[in-house]
Symmetry: C6
Subunit: 71 residues, 6 copies
């Protein structure tokens, strides 16, 4: 029993685009931490970030404050 | 499968007005951060803010404390 | 598709009374901020506060800790 | 359209008892604030506390960390 | 109208075992507080802790970060 | 009445893999705490971590910010 990602939502689609294009992003978290990396996948609970050393960090959506594409 | 924005709600409509009119707003976030910019879109999870350098920031609704139109 | 305010709830009704009577309130927020003003409207997501300079602040319910009528 | 309080739950019933018996309680909140008073009512969103000067404070449940009956 | 505890979940069952066996636990809360005591009951909203002086503290689940059985 | 884990979700499956393989992980929590250990089980509410002294810590999902496999 799996709830589908709501791919009609702009926020979900923009994250899909960032995954597809391999853009760097910054994620600000509720603890004040700022993570940088590329998004490798998203589901209803989490977004996974891969840093410059190719290490994954699974971030819970509930803990995300904002996301900024890096320039 | 997409949940529609509840456009009958005053808070959703006021944000739609702010988008349409291109008003500057301030967003206070749970981390204490204060972001300023124009709202470019909203969905059920997020509100996207564009700053004076035309850079987008996707803010999660769960992290918003208050929104103030700038004067 | 709009979810109605649960006007049978004491908390919703007391806020309706504060709106009708134009009482000053204090709102304590999760960031520790304390806002003062009159409530102009409420919906399922937000409460809007108008300060003494007639400036509105849209406060997200999720960020409210307590509300105190001012005396 | 009103959602009933789940009066079968121990937490809801214990709060009903504290209201009926007029016991003093302490409420610890997510901001670290500690409020003291008697509970005057509860609903699905809020608990209302009356302090020693008979002033009400409407506390949002989402912001409550713990409740301690005072001795 | 009462929602049953999901007693099939490992987390719910482990807490039931801690209640039955009268084990001491530590609860870390979102405020950073660390409470110690024995769990006397749980429901869908709260967990009640009894300290060494037999005083109860009703802790909201939303405010719990982790639980550690004491050794 | 038990809600099944959504085993179709990448985040749930990756945690299942970490359990199966006995990998060390780091969990960053909303309090800023960083816990390290092996995941022994997960359910819809919690993830249980076992540290190097074989002591369990039941972590509530709502309090998790991110998870990093240790290298």
């Amino acid at each position: 029993m799996t709830t589908e990602l709501e791919t009609g939502l702009p926020s979900v689609r923009q994250i899909q685009n960032l995954i597809r294009d391999g853009n760097e992003v910054e994620l600000k978290l509720v603890t004040g931490d700022l993570l940088a990396g590329k998004i490798s996948w998203q589901d209803n609970h989490c977004i996974s970030l891969t840093d410059q050393y190719d290490q994954p960090t699974i971030v819970w959506r509930q803990a995300i404050v904002y996301l900024k594409p890096r320039l």
